[in-house]
């Protein structure tokens, strides 16, 4: 179903951090951007189709906007696609930094007392989570650097691990280190719709599709919940080790999961037209030998291709549908 394609080399290996791969496909430029965190820096690579002609850039996560600042450890680098611009957002121990999409210019930085862990956009805002459980919501204008902190959501008590969003009944889902999930609705302000309790394992990655929440946990399990109401709809004993990444292909409902057990698993989500029940089936397994995966993403919205990173691996492995 999928076969291995040419890997994209990285200037440095990837660190063992959750969701440690971000992909930005630029269809008009026929390029794909990749970003992965290594220690105190972020490796950016842009590749043409087929993995040929790769160019690189390295970003250091700094404490401030100036030149002689101390470096800090980034947690996540991801592209946020807003209405008229794309920003590369770095969350780190010291705060949050936003760059132009190619990483060339820093547009904004917000220092915090505690580490900022994951982030996600939901037009026209950008949300970022902190290690104390706060969710910061930033208003991002279509041009310029006048980014402002508009809201702070206080519901989680543990470090935020991942945030996901979708236009629909539920707008934002936040996950934390204890495994608790919060579902939010955005009008003028964000309001809490549902809280899904933890069951003893970290939720490292969460995705939203057609009102279905897909969550990956430290015990290797994937759980599907109804976004409105929070009812548990499916449990999958998916991996033999800690799940590090989930991704969804919005046009087809394909889900991928990557874990420390070296496997990427591909699944298909669907909703039965008769009963309204949520279903999930397994489609494909891929093993990256001797590698503990730390990031995995689809490279297109249909899910015809995907990429993955691993701890200590100095490349991005890629697979395409046959």
């Amino acid at each position: 179903m999928y076969r291995k394609e040419r890997s994209v080399p990285l200037k440095s290996s990837s660190s063992a951090l959750y969701n440690n791969l971000s992909v930005l496909p630029l269809r008009d430029k026929q390029l794909t951007y990749f970003a992965a965190v290594h220690g105190s820096s972020v490796s950016l690579a842009s590749a043409a189709p087929g993995g040929l002609s790769v160019s690189h850039r390295q970003l250091q996560a700094k404490e401030g906007a100036g030149v002689g600042c101390n470096s800090s450890f980034p947690f996540q680098a991801s592209w946020c696609v807003l209405p008229s611009r794309v920003l590369l957002v770095l969350t780190s121990q010291k705060g949050i930094q936003m760059y132009e999409s190619d990483g060339s210019i820093m547009v904004y930085w917000h220092a915090l007392d505690g580490p900022v862990t994951g982030c996600q956009w939901h037009l026209p805002c950008l949300s970022a989570g902190t290690s104390s459980g706060l969710v910061l919501v930033f208003d991002v204008p279509s041009k310029g650097t006048n980014i402002t902190l508009s809201e702070v959501l206080e519901e989680h008590r543990d470090s935020i691990t991942d945030i996901t969003s979708e236009d629909g009944a539920a707008d934002l889902v936040t996950a934390d280190d204890s495994g608790a999930l919060c579902v939010w609705k955005a009008k003028e302000e964000f309001s809490l719709l549902t809280r899904i309790s933890a069951f003893g394992w970290t939720c490292s990655s969460v995705k939203l599709w057609n009102g279905v929440i897909a969550a990956g946990y430290g015990n290797g399990q994937i759980r599907l919940y109804e976004a409105t109401g929070g009812a548990l709809r499916a449990t999958v004993s998916a991996h033999a080790r800690w799940i590090y990444a989930l991704d969804l292909a919005p046009l087809t409902g394909k889900l991928l999961s990557g874990a420390e057990d070296s496997y990427v698993q591909i699944w298909k989500l669907s909703r039965s037209p008769d009963t309204g029940d949520i279903e999930i089936e397994h489609c494909h397994s891929e093993c990256v030998t001797d590698t503990q995966l730390c990031g995995a993403r689809f490279c297109d919205p249909e899910g015809n291709s995907f990429a993955a990173t691993g701890y200590d691996l100095s490349e991005i492995v890629r697979y395409g549908q046959v």
Partner: protein
């Protein structure tokens, strides 16, 4: 090494040591005894220790198992010093401090500790001959990750999908093959002061190249077990102690020192007041704990040398 003040220092919340700092602490630890090593042997010993520990941290089935790894190490140490009640007490005290501080951390917090440790070990791919021989490490320096065996305690064997309706009733079940060959775990390892840790990260380092003068009481020498080939030489001149050579001959050791690749050389810090004040203050404070106040005894029998060394520590 287990004395109260030093342990207190270690237990304070602090940033991960830099590679230089850890190597310096290591040098001081090794030389706090009557043991002496040349640069090449010290490098080899340090390589062995870091790669062995990297392997253990990487292969922990659950993040909390890094605590079991530490308990395994302490259990082994207790076995060597079982006839010395003073040191045994210190080790037990360390055990208790570990239990107090770490037993109630969540799995997520242990994973963060493990991820931080993995940052330290990132990009280290030194080939260790014993690991290569046991097929635990590939020729490119990367460790072999098994795709079979028991799943960690708390994880289910992959393969089952369960689907529920809106009332919470299970309405459908499906199975899939995940690719690996996993089985259920048997029992959780013990986190108590005494207990079966049930953690067998499979590697064993056996003594190879039997040294011309084998140790009389090999079980007392923890380092000898790990290093394999160990040659003990009589001290030169009046200097007390013995020199450790991890290579087969002195010539091999010198050659190794000359040909060691630049990127693998450890730059050991010499603590001087003029350099890097803050870093050295911290190190000087830690190093101060290593002062050996008693003069080591001199004796003729090799076995007695080792016993004396253990007594002095």
């Amino acid at each position: 090494m287990f004395n109260k003040k030093f342990m207190e220092e270690l237990f304070k919340p602090q940033e991960l040591y830099s590679k230089k700092a850890l190597r310096t602490v290591y040098d001081r630890l090794a030389h706090a005894s009557i043991m002496r090593l040349n640069q090449a042997s010290m490098d080899k010993l340090y390589d062995l220790m870091t790669m062995a520990f990297k392997y253990q941290v990487l292969l922990c089935p659950r993040p909390k198992d890094i605590l079991l790894v530490t308990f395994n190490h302490l259990d082994a140490i207790k076995d060597f010093i079982r006839d010395s009640p003073n040191i045994l007490n210190q080790v037990d005290e360390t055990f208790r401090q570990l239990i107090d501080m770490y037993s109630c951390l969540s799995a997520g917090e242990f994973q963060l500790i493990r991820q931080t440790l993995l940052i330290f070990f990132q990009d280290m791919h030194i080939r260790v001959s014993i690991f290569l021989k046991d097929k635990v490490q590939n020729s490119n320096g990367r460790f072999v990750l098994p795709l079979s065996g028991p799943v960690p305690w708390g994880t289910e064997v992959p393969g089952l999908i369960r689907m529920f309706n809106c009332n919470g009733d299970e309405v459908k079940r499906a199975e899939f093959t995940n690719g690996g060959n996993y089985i259920s775990p048997q029992r959780e390892g013990s986190f108590d002061l005494y207990g079966d840790r049930k953690l067998h990260i499979k590697f064993s380092i056996k003594a190879e190249n039997a040294a011309p003068n084998p140790l009389a009481k090999e079980e007392l020498n923890f380092l000898a077990r790990l290093m394999g080939g160990l040659e003990i030489k009589k001290p030169n001149g009046s200097e007390p102690g013995f020199r450790l050579n991890l290579f087969t001959t002195d010539e091999d050791e010198e050659y190794a020192a000359l040909t060691r690749p630049e990127e693998l050389s450890y730059k050991v810090i010499n603590i001087q007041a003029t350099q890097d004040q803050q870093q050295n203050e911290e190190l000087a404070r830690i190093m101060g704990e290593f002062e050996v106040t008693d003069q080591p005894r001199q004796s003729t029998s090799r076995g007695d040398d080792l016993l004396a060394m253990m007594d002095e520590l």
